[in-house]
């Protein structure tokens, strides 16, 4: 069978400032039979998006397709002139971008943009295109398929926009669809519905597709074939199951290893003395009202304890308030109510009232390695400041300590004289850690420290954290949206949803039911590294997330009410949920008893290939 898409010796170059050119895609060849899905997988800088875009004969500003050939059907894409390219893009090949929120024009209605391709290419009349769009909306499980097109992009949720973009891509019945990290910007519980919708339309329409992703587990659900890339070069190509089960190339093996993080050792005994206690914390942003409450409440009635030498994982999606929690403890955001106790002593929530010793003992490590180090200062200066500030160490002694700190985070001492811009992302994050360690703190607040890093680099940083904790005995608050990371490094876990702590317990408690319904959704939404996982999931995990601005549940009621699949009419929407302590010390915020939840969740989990049982055994 002849392939629909045939790429031979593709190479793409980027122009440098000095006028020279550097290859970012080198001699890539592949082919895709009609109706199949090929995944391009790799980390940032691997050239996967560049390859995907060149299928549309497109190179970003500053880049140039330098050689090779691309055939789609009968068309030689790289031989097309401008007119030929206009006719190709959006008609024969269409594109689904990573961030739908950015890829939709904020000034135009959704319908205008969805049918634009059909209108430009004259494949259908406007009316026919709109009718087809409504069909697609329904096929993509979008709510209100008839009415949603009249809205503006800001009026629908991110997951819905992503599916609307799929409708936009499919409106002209293209021969090839290019999906570029289409779910990366989404929360994991939203991703699952989008993936399902994509899979359904791709299958129903027999579409040929290229799926670009950095996430092997996602790709495993979508692709027939996987092409592994790094540094613009092909490492390995093969059928999905072959790549997942029998990776040949060392790079693929390292990707696979990093994608399934192994638990690192446990911290101090569980009954160690409390180091940090948070009681009834309420905090937020905006103008403080007459009642002392901020205009936007981000955290509501949070209770948490971190024992000395242990690691508390805080899991939540965007908007859950997890970052605010770290900032309250660090003193950057004042608490409106409640207290933060450090070794039993109340910690002033205002920066100006804290003593230097209190600052020293709690260090915060921020997420974004690119902005966390002052670009105007050298690494040595960045590390010298906390040494001088907290310990009064200067000169020779400081230089020695800086060398020791760099060694501790496994960086060469020669980096000291460099500026942050000369370091890689992983190196910057290590310097970031070293700066916190320079204070010799008792507690380190780690806010999404690995999420901006590539998986392999992130895994190395996690190893480092585990080792440091073992050697130095510090306590960690580890904040993440990624449940597998939290599972790998944390002793205790708390799950935040929309500012409330809905579920908390030991690490083993997030391996087996009962869970709070949200925690259950979160855990079952994490894709597994095997094909067929998506198909084996129950039809509907949760109710669709409401559109932005649709209004939160009334204050006091369960914040998960709108999406909860097991809500009880007349109870959950009337009465605030109680905090239940289940046996084993697990705590949930729900009207359901542990037994009730367990009953629902165990039945669901006993479907084909239950992961939860595997995991209970592993941990």
């Amino acid at each position: 069978m002849s392939a629909l898409v045939e790429v031979q010796g593709l190479s793409v170059v980027v122009r440098n400032a000095d006028g020279g050119e550097t290859a970012i895609v080198k001699d890539v060849s592949f082919s895709i039979p009609k109706g199949r899905v090929l995944a391009l997988i790799g980390e940032s800088g691997s050239g996967k998006t560049t390859i995907a875009l060149s299928l549309l004969g497109y190179a970003r500003r500053g880049c140039r397709i330098a050689g090779g050939s691309i055939r789609i059907g009968e068309t030689q894409v790289l031989d097309l002139d401008d007119e030929g390219l206009y006719a190709l893009r959006g008609a024969k090949v269409s594109y689904i971008a990573q961030s739908a929120a950015a890829a939709f024009n904020p000034m135009k209605t959704i319908m205008d943009q969805v049918v634009e391709g059909a209108v430009i290419h004259g494949t259908a009349t406007r009316a026919a295109a709109e009718a087809k769009a409504v069909e697609l909306f329904a096929a993509l499980a979008l709510p209100d398929p008839k009415g949603i097109g009249a809205r503006y992009p800001h009026q629908v949720s991110g997951g819905q926009l992503q599916r609307l973009m799929a409708a936009m891509a499919l409106i002209t019945d293209p021969e090839l669809v290019v999906l570029d990290e289409p779910t990366t910007a989404l929360d994991v519980t939203t991703q699952i519905e989008v993936l399902r919708a994509f899979k359904k339309v791709v299958r129903e329409r027999g579409a040929t597709a290229v799926y670009v992703s950095h996430d092997l587990a996602v790709v495993a659900q979508m692709a027939d074939q996987i092409l592994v890339l790094s540094d613009g070069e092909m490492r390995e190509i093969g059928a999905t199951d072959d790549i997942l089960v029998r990776p040949r190339h060392a790079y693929t093996q390292s990707l696979l290893a990093a994608a399934a993080p192994q638990p690192r050792g446990e911290g101090a005994a569980k009954d160690a003395a409390a180091l940090l206690e948070i009681r009834g914390l309420v905090a937020g942003y905006g103008r403080v009202g007459a009642d002392g409450m901020p205009a936007t409440r981000v955290l509501d009635d949070i209770d948490l304890t971190i024992a000395r030498g242990r690691t508390l994982g805080v899991i939540g999606e965007s908007g859950s308030g997890k970052t605010t929690l770290a900032r309250v403890v660090a003193g950057l955001v004042p608490a409106a109510r409640g207290s933060v106790l450090f070794e039993g002593q109340p910690l002033p929530t205002n920066l100006t009232e804290r003593t230097r010793e209190q600052f020293r003992r709690i260090q915060i490590v921020f997420q974004n390695a690119d902005t966390v180090l002052n670009p105007a200062h050298s690494i040595a200066r960045i590390l010298a400041r906390p040494l001088a500030f907290y310990h009064g160490v200067r000169g020779e002694e400081a230089a020695k300590r800086i060398a020791r700190l760099l060694d501790l985070v496994k960086l060469p001492a020669t980096l000291a004289t460099r500026k942050p811009a000369e370091l890689s992302g992983g190196q910057k994050q290590r310097v970031n850690l070293a700066r916190a360690l320079a204070a010799e703190p008792d507690l380190i607040l780690c806010d999404e420290v690995t999420s901006a890093l590539d998986t392999v680099v992130g895994a190395a940083v996690l190893d480092l954290l585990a080792e440091l904790r073992r050697e130095l005995g510090v306590s960690l608050m580890f904040i993440s949206h990624d449940i597998s990371t939290v599972r790998a490094v944390c002793d205790d876990v708390a799950v935040l949803y929309s500012g409330c702590k809905v579920d908390s317990g030991r690490r083993k408690d997030i391996a087996a039911p009962p869970f709070h319904p949200y925690a259950d959704l979160l855990i079952s939404s994490v894709p597994e590294l095997r094909s067929g996982w998506l198909d084996g999931l129950p039809a509907r995990l949760a109710v669709e997330a409401p559109a932005p601005g649709a209004g939160k549940p009334p204050p006091g009621l369960c914040t998960f009410l709108d999406r909860c699949p097991v809500r009880i009419a007349g109870l959950c929407d009337q009465v605030a949920p109680p905090r239940r302590i289940l046996e084993g010390g697990k705590e949930i915020l729900c009207h359901h008893t542990g037994a009730e939840l367990e009953a629902v969740q165990v039945t669901k989990a006993s479907g084909p290939g239950s992961r939860r049982r595997d995991e209970t055994e592993r941990i």
Binding site: L53, L56, Y58, R60, R61, L85, Y86, A87, L88, R89, G90, A91, S94, Y95, A97, S99, A102, A103, F104, N105, P106, M107, K108, E116, G117, I120, H121, R151, Y152, H154, Q155, M168, R287, A295, G549
Partner: protein, 336 residues
């Protein structure tokens, strides 16, 4: 400048939360903030002209004045009262259109201004009518062809034009059109607009001079605003849907650039407020600015105050209109 303006946080007052962020609320907020700014501006102008310099009566009458005549003049202009009373009195006059008596012409300021203001407005209107379409066209075209030869040439031209003093443009225009070619009269003091030909003869050189810098500024800001949008992801998406460059620029980027472009137009036109001072003087054009320059030369304070307030008001009005355009063109605010 556009970015800086956008960053200025909207002021908040104690109101029910549900009002906040509505169009009406934003518009009311802008109006209130404009009014407050105008009050601060009036204070600054009053402090500089009416309070700090000391005795205006002495100044007006010169060294030969007797104490009696000075006292009489003080009483006549209310200068014997404390400054805050005089400020309030002046402010009241501003609001009721009673701008006081010109020291030098001994006529009501309102009357003198009424004779000049329409002429300045006409000059500004003609300049705006000529410059805005040209500038927007240049700005959008160079944004669409950014980095190509046309854009680089236009960039170099506008970059140079914004830094050229008006009197250079004016003198060269006079040299070329009035002295060498003798097409146009050098002065515009007889504002004769009875026929289109006369109209052109009167306005050609002042408008040309004003347009020179205004067009350059406006084109540069427009280009920046459109380029800002052209680098957005939704533009790449439109390209990947097969849209041609004209459609991408006009249907996708331009609607999003309306706010910044309105801002660019307002700021560039507000530049006219300074430009007319030079241009009206050079061409002897009987507008408000030349009236003000005469008043400054003669230290005719009531006149200076009144003219300064009119110019500041015009600036605030332009900026306010641009803000309102930006608010109203944003669907996030229209459809919440």
């Amino acid at each position: 400048m556009a970015e800086a303006r956008a960053l200025a946080s909207p002021r908040r007052f104690a109101v029910p939360a549900r009002w906040r962020g509505t169009i009406a609320w934003l518009v009311a907020n802008r109006l209130a903030s404009g009014a407050l700014t105008l009050v601060i501006v009036s204070m600054v102008i009053f402090v500089i002209t009416g309070w700090l310099p000391g005795d205006a009566a002495q100044e007006a009458l010169g060294q030969s004045a007797t104490p009696e005549t000075i006292a009489a003049l003080r009483a006549q202009y209310g200068l014997d009262k404390p400054p805050h009373i005089r400020y309030l009195h002046w402010l009241q006059g501003l609001l009721t259109g009673n701008l006081g008596q010109s020291f030098t012409a001994n006529l009501p300021v309102t009357e003198l201004i009424a004779g000049r203001l329409p002429k300045s407005l006409l000059l500004a209107a003609v300049t705006a009518a000529v410059s805005v379409p040209i500038a927007l066209t240049i700005g959008i075209l160079s944004a669409m062809w950014r980095g190509r030869a046309l854009d680089r040439a236009l960039n170099l031209a506008t970059l140079s034009m914004v830094a050229v003093p008006e009197f250079l443009v004016a003198t060269i225009a006079v040299l070329v059109f009035a002295v060498k070619l003798q097409w146009l009269p050098a002065l515009s003091n007889a504002v004769d607009v009875s026929t289109p030909a006369q109209f052109v003869r009167t306005y050609a050189m002042p408008v040309l001079t004003l347009c020179f810098v205004v067009i350059a500024q406006m084109a540069r800001m427009t280009r920046a605003a459109v380029i800002d949008q052209l680098s957005a992801s939704y533009v790449e998406m439109a390209v990947l849907k097969g849209a041609r460059p004209a459609r991408v620029a006009l249907r996708h980027a331009l609607p999003n650039a309306i706010g910044p472009i309105a801002n660019a137009v307002a700021l560039s036109l507000s530049y006219l407020l300074g430009g007319v001072v030079i241009v009206e003087t050079i061409f002897n054009y009987p507008g408000l600015a030349s009236l003000m320059v005469d008043a400054v030369t003669n230290r005719d304070m009531p006149m200076v105050q009144a003219c300064a307030m009119i110019f500041c008001f015009a600036y605030l009005l332009l900026v306010l209109i641009a803000d309102l355009v930006a608010i109203l063109s944003n669907p996030r605010l229209r459809h919440r």
